[in-house]
């Protein structure tokens, strides 16, 4: 299980590949990997967005991400999980978040991946500020899941 905040752009597929390569003792045991990648869009609410700043609450963010993933582990028979989340300055098309879960069967993998994303979006203290032509604006709420 790994939970990480990243201040620099990251490649989710590369990270996944590296992480999964380290799961050698799970080889042959996981039949299902469910993955979600959140990516910065170049527009929101009908307006172009040129950049984004992701603020967080150091300490509280990590603690809540950890707890969310631990809850998922208790709720479903997971073999492993990986969460990477950006903070700092982002450009459109930059990955924001990667969630990956490994399980023997797909039902647990799908449900846990979805759960982690919904919990992350409702509980982990991150805040998005978008840079638009009209200036910077704080995103006031997330799109419903």
């Amino acid at each position: 299980m790994k939970i990480e905040l990243r201040a620099r752009p990251f490649d989710p597929l590369l990270e996944l590949g590296f992480y999964q390569a380290g799961l050698s003792e799970l080889q042959g045991r996981y039949g299902a990997t469910a993955i979600f990648i959140g990516t910065m869009r170049d527009g929101n609410d009908g307006e172009p967005v040129r950049g984004m700043t992701l603020e967080h609450y150091p300490g509280m963010t990590e603690r809540h991400l950890q707890r969310i993933v631990e809850t998922a582990h208790r709720e479903w028979p997971l073999l492993d999980a990986l969460v990477i989340h950006r903070v700092g300055e982002l450009r459109p098309n930059d990955p924001i978040v990667l969630v990956a879960v490994w399980s023997a069967h797909r039902a647990a993998a799908f449900a846990a991946c979805r759960f982690i994303m919904e919990e992350l979006k409702s509980k982990a203290p991150f805040w998005k500020r978008e840079d638009t032509a009209a200036g910077a604006r704080w995103v006031e709420h997330n799109t419903p899941g």
Partner: protein, 77 residues
């Protein structure tokens, strides 16, 4: 008692600062911490509060050395 106070995101921008330190008598609630620091500014609606990095109700009692945070709804992911 001494309380460390933090503000984040749009709330911090609005208040013009990220942190406060409050020295006060024991037994204050989270809401009273806000009211002592910002007597003329009601806590904006929808703001969330945390004590020592755990979500807390405005009625929660704070203790010496606690870190109290006020912030808008989270928008990560």
């Amino acid at each position: 008692m001494a309380i460390q106070v933090k503000y984040f995101a749009s709330l911090r921008d609005r208040l013009g600062r990220a942190e406060d330190r409050l020295d006060a008598a024991a037994g204050l609630t989270v809401a009273e911490v806000w009211a002592m620091l910002w007597p003329d500014t009601p806590l904006p609606p929808n703001m969330l509060t945390a004590v020592n990095m755990e979500y807390a109700e405005p009625t929660q009692i704070v203790h010496d050395g606690d870190e109290v945070a006020f912030f808008p709804p989270v928008t990560g992911g």
